[in-house]
Amino acid sequence: MLEHGVQELARLLATRQLSSVELTEYYLERIERLDERYNCFISLSGEEARAQAAAADARRAAGTVSPLCGIPLAHKDIYCTQGVRTSCASRMLDNFVPPYDATVVAACRQAGAVMLGKTNMDEFAMGSSNENSSYGAVRNPWDLTRVPGGSSGGSAAAVAARLTPLATGTDTGGSLRQPAALCGVTALKPTYGRVSRHGMIAFASSLDQGGPVARDAADAALLLEAMAGFDPRDSTSEDRPVPQYHAALEDSLAGVRIGLPQEYFNERLAPEAADAVHQAAREYERLGARLKEIQLPHTHLAVPVYYILAPAECSANLARYDGVRYGHRCDQPAGMQDLYMRTRSEAFGEEVKRRILVGTYVLSRGYYDAYYVQAQKVRRLIREDFRSAFADVDLILAPCAPGAAFPLGEKAADPISMYYQDEHTLGASLAGLPALAMPGGFADGLPLGVQLIAPDFAEGALLTAAHRFQQATSWHLQRPPETGGEAP
């Protein structure tokens, strides 16, 4: 069962060799038995899942259904799910049960997907290791002493450990791509505006995007088709049709021009991570693509720009957590200021507080122009870098993370070292461009990812390029030893 991709599962369901109820029970049992070692899930929705599975089987019996009908998936605990706790991995929302579904959740429900539960994450999506969760760290299925990456660590680890065939995640500075790289799965951050943010709890509103996590590009394509689309409830949602990504996966790569950005191969990049990209480049040449070096000259400013803008936006977005209307409220507040101070100080974790403080400072009088406005101007230069590059190439191939998964606790005392985990993913985030991470090799039994970046709304090109790579290679077929796979 664990070998089957979503299309194969859909075929088994269609030919009645399997029911959605059986498939759902299979995954619920695996989670029950195995998740203790990974801590991928914050909440399980077993009863709802069984009901959704039965409804999916009934829909299938009554007529044609979409490819995701009856397929189990997990949602990152940042998406509001009506009637099911949505915590953002924070004490602040430990008691929050949303009265509505996020648009992404509603879309998956409409497609007939079955929600197994809500996955663990870094608190309010702030982190690159999934160690900043008030429900405990997630452990990498490839090595339980190491991090899965973050902030969508629970989703990436759950797919890697075969606790779910599919998961949703979000990516603000790399939070889908970096954990995908560290867990050996495939994930895609769409173009800003491609996927609705309505009901996706906000971290940094000009950067947040939701996307799929899957074992391969073909499965990711199916989930992205369901997730993407115009939503009038999201004022930044782009009104353009969603292509049938799965239909174009077999397109040829002959003549496709792929750029390798020189600046991404810096002294902080582990040699094995660089080798994985170069090996992927050779594979793409064999597939008919033409490779060339490109420049993205402002790459070195991506981390400083992001760690001004994202904290600034988060300080505004998290101001709503005040103990008044929902979420945590401190005991017996003595007055309004006490209500705000104690509610927020008790319920936010250290990294969240740190970013709120940075954000508040860079927006404050006297510093606003030097930090915030300056960062926005440099952000334009970063986007211009990509625009210039895409005049010469169709896709960019780059590292995804500086190396393989690092040990739990290694970067706990060094926030800046943690921030530099994102240095290869931040550029595409700041430029609003679609980017995909996929397995590209191994080092000492740990996955190494590679990243593809495309122009605006070229998610199809990313998925096709990833699919063709995955047809020619087998990195994505490896499973962690604990799921019955063998160490590569």
Partner: protein, 96 residues
């Protein structure tokens, strides 16, 4: 640029966050390190006329007709509230 403890306390107050006195020095050091790192944006050579980028594609805010489209869902929305009475959220006295 480094940050002083006084500035940290001021930012904390603006953000309505409490920092224990014994933690202020350590928080100040860490914030100082982060601010020193992000201050590198000031090294950028900005071409004349570079404007801030607030949306990746410089999109404009989409507007719609000013018509009521939502139903009153107060009772549903207040189900999880810490304290409510007769449709109002209860909070400590706001006027001294």
């Amino acid at each position: 640029m480094s940050i002083s403890e006084e500035e940290v306390r001021a930012a904390a107050f603006l953000a309505r966050l409490h920092i224990d006195e014994e933690s202020v020095a350590a928080v100040t050091r860490t914030l100082g390190d982060v601010l020193a790192m992000v201050a590198r944006v000031q090294e950028a050579d900005l071409p004349k006329g570079t404007t801030p980028l607030t949306h990746p594609r410089d999109a404009r805010q989409r507007l719609r007709a000013d018509e009521v489209r939502e139903e009153d869902q107060r009772s549903v929305l207040q189900q999880g509230a810490p304290q409510v009475r007769e449709g109002f959220y209860l909070v400590p006295r706001t006027v001294e």
